[in-house]
């Protein structure tokens, strides 16, 4: 069964790869996310508009209206209500999807906590933008500031990756009962068209079974109270169990990605190492679309490598250490931050230091780049490389300092 439906990469020398049971389409990142939700047969979509996410929920509305998707779609009154409704429907046993961005995610913060503490599976797309003063452009401060809410976080480099990650995320979320946030970059991804391979419904159905009812499920035959006051003698048990399951995420994510590759023909890993070996002197650490720019630049620098973080929460410590195994101890890491969280160091460097502490003593340089949507062209990446090699400073702002 598995062999029959598996897709095979038919990549030629100068051809795009082709995948069996897929349709080749040109889609913006937001529409790719909507396609993924449709293919995962989501049943409940609470919606509220916010730039640059809006076209996701617009497209889903269209799909529900024209019968492409059998889901209950409700226009809510705020993102707080969107997530509160998502929580209710997930407790009711539905597969839930929604999308938000920036202020919307900040507004929903309280409910993000409740959803993960309730151990409810769902997948939500966040199209990253920073906080007020108003800015709608690409920035990961919103989702990275929610990294401690107990949600799993993936950051997609391409629209294809977002589509594929959402499909994998439902499997991961429903196996562990931990919600997943799939993050896109504003405009560079959300509103940029790419060639996308959209898998067939048959293929996705074979990969992703319908959601099964878990313990946190409203059962009319066996009524219970969900989320009442939990005294100290019990509360820690919930946290303990969540902690145990959070520790399974990295390995399970890898396992699901491998299974995904067998069905769909596309390979993903929690972290990706590019040109990291004994000869490497400098490694750029990136997430999302900056990775693509950096990929192009490092081709011209034989001694510069790239470490892409796809899974960010829980932080893939094992994967990072493995990816850096061949890197000499005197090499340098340059963390590229499209976020500002109020501390000296950005989120990526904070996480990298925690991951490497006690295992590797590599020098780390932190580069703020692209905050508030500021473009990060190849020249900026080259400046980062130049500065890291010739004038290494602990923390600096690319194109500013």
């Amino acid at each position: 069964m598995l062999e029959e439906i598996k897709s095979t990469s038919l990549a030629g020398e100068d051809k795009l790869p082709k995948y069996r049971d897929h349709e080749e389409r040109i889609l913006k990142g937001n529409y790719a996310a909507a396609e993924a939700a449709r293919l995962c047969r989501v049943g409940f979509i609470p919606a509220y508009p916010i730039t640059p996410q809006t076209t996701i929920v617009e497209r889903l509305s269209e799909m529900v209206a024209n019968g492409e998707l059998d889901a209950t779609y409700i226009n809510m009154d705020s993102e707080h209500s969107v997530f509160a409704a998502a929580m209710g429907a997930a407790l009711g046993g539905e597969r839930v999807f929604t999308a938000t961005a920036g202020q919307g995610l900040f507004y929903a913060h309280e409910v993000l906590q409740a959803i993960s503490h309730f151990r409810l599976p769902m997948v939500v797309c966040n199209v990253g933008r920073p906080s007020i003063p108003w800015n709608i452009w690409s920035d990961q401060s919103d989702s990275l500031s929610q990294r401690d809410t107990g949600w799993i976080q993936y950051y997609g480099e391409s629209a294809q990756e977002v589509l594929d990650t959402i499909i994998q995320s439902y499997m991961l979320s429903e196996k562990l009962n931990i919600p997943v946030m799939a993050v896109l970059d504003a405009f560079y991804q959300s509103h940029t068209s790419e060639n996308i391979w959209v898998p067939s419904q048959k293929l996705v159905d074979a990969f992703l079974p319908p959601r099964k009812a878990g313990a946190m499920h409203i059962d009319l035959e066996h009524p219970k109270a969900f989320g009442g006051l939990v005294p100290p003698e019990h509360y820690y048990k919930f946290s303990y169990n969540a902690w145990k399951d959070a520790r399974k995420v990295e390995a399970l994510s890898t396992e699901i990605a491998a299974r995904f590759a067998r069905y769909f023909g596309r390979q993903y890993s929690n972290v990706e190492a590019v040109n990291i070996g004994p000869h490497t002197r400098l490694v750029l650490v990136t997430v999302s679309t900056i990775t693509t720019t950096a990929r192009g630049v490092v081709r011209n620098y034989p001694d510069v490598g790239l470490l892409k973080l796809r899974l960010f929460r829980p932080f893939p410590k094992t994967g990072v250490l493995e990816a850096l195994r061949a890197l000499p101890d005197d090499a340098v890491l340059a963390n590229v931050e499209r976020n500002f969280l109020g501390d000296a160091e950005g989120a990526i460097q904070q996480e990298m230091k925690r991951a490497l502490f006690g295992a590797r003593n590599l020098r780390m340089l932190d580069f703020y780049a692209g905050v508030g949507g500021k473009d990060v062209p190849p020249e900026t990446i080259e400046k980062i490389i130049y500065q890291a090699k010739n004038d290494p400073r602990d923390i600096s702002w690319a194109d500013v300092d």
Partner: protein, 308 residues
């Protein structure tokens, strides 16, 4: 069956041992509600006294599912629960929000308005005890003019009028909304039944006695609730698609002071220098009543409303 027997609870849907204070509205209200709504009911409860009264983990005071949810999001969570049940062919399951006045008039108003405007098939029950009682008697926008709470800097009592929630709710053109009192159980039970039998968003506002918050004798909870209706401080009425019906017209004029005098939170109003506040409250109650009368007259084009 005689009316005196109609409010007896025959099929108890609440376990014993509720954690409410003596003379609290919540326990009696929950017993009557659940006995009418039956087993096929899911309750959604934001932060409020009932979150505690219904029992800490792993207890459940009701013989039905209770979803405890975030303070501002009860109506939204209920929307999600409703959607899930409907998708699973359980449209006959009643989804009920049990909230306090803080979770309704204040922090939950936006979600409430959203769900009401969407016409979600939800029954919303607000136990209005006129302050944040669960956290220790802080002012809400339901707190009556002149009442003492623990958060009234300045004069020590509230100097603004409470929100007219029923007016706000009426403006949403709901199929059914009503005020209820635990002192008029036959009326309350009829309204719960009517609300249960109506589809769409329905709201019941119950006058909630709260001895610690109102500084009253627990034994007088029901008597004071009755006086609130008799004095027209808490009129009993129904609203169907903006059409009003007065359900109880007191036989004689009883001044508001007859109800206020039993409540320690209004004690200072009986000092001579505060007499004008009592007059303002009386005038406000009289005016609200006249408004209701006028709305009721206009509502049915002079025709008597069909008996329910």
């Amino acid at each position: 069956m005689s009316p005196t027997q109609e409010f007896l609870i025959k099929d108890e849907k609440v376990y014993s041992g509720a954690l409410s204070c003596r003379g609290c509205a919540w326990s009696l209200l929950a017993r009557h509600l659940s006995s009418i709504l039956g087993d096929n009911t899911v309750y959604v409860v934001p932060a409020c006294c009932f979150s505690i009264i219904s029992g800490p983990y792993p207890l459940n005071g009701l013989k039905g599912n209770i979803v405890h949810t975030v303070f501002a999001g009860a109506s939204a969570t209920a929307t999600g629960v409703r959607a899930a049940l409907d998708r699973q062919g359980k449209a006959d399951t009643t989804v009920v929000v049990l909230a306090g006045d803080g979770g309704t008039f204040d922090i939950g108003l936006q979600a409430l308005s959203g769900a009401a405007a969407r016409g979600e098939n939800i029954l919303y029950v607000v136990n209005n005890n006129g302050a944040y009682m669960n956290t220790g008697i802080q002012t809400s926008t339901a707190t009556p003019y002149g009442a003492v709470t623990t958060t009234n800097p300045g004069g020590g009592y509230k100097r603004t009028w409470p929100k007219d929630l029923m007016g706000i709710i009426a403006a949403h053109n709901l199929p059914y909304a009503a005020t209820c009192s635990l002192a008029y159980l036959d009326d309350l039970r009829r309204k719960v039944r009517k609300a249960a039998d109506t589809r769409g968003f329905r709201l019941l506002m119950v006058d909630g006695p709260c001895p610690p918050g109102h500084k009253t004798d627990p034994a007088l909870s029901i008597s004071i609730a009755r006086l609130a209706v008799e004095t027209k401080l808490f009129p009993l009425f129904e609203i169907e698609r903006q059409r009003y019906t007065l359900n109880y017209i007191p036989d004689k004029e009883v001044p508001v002071t007859e109800c206020l005098k039993y409540q320690g939170r209004f004690k200072h109003l009986f000092n001579e220098e505060n007499g004008y506040i009592l007059e303002e409250i009386q005038e406000h109650a009289d005016h609200y009543w006249r408004q209701l009368q006028t709305k009721a007259e206009l509502s049915w084009n002079g025709k008597e409303k069909e008996k329910t």
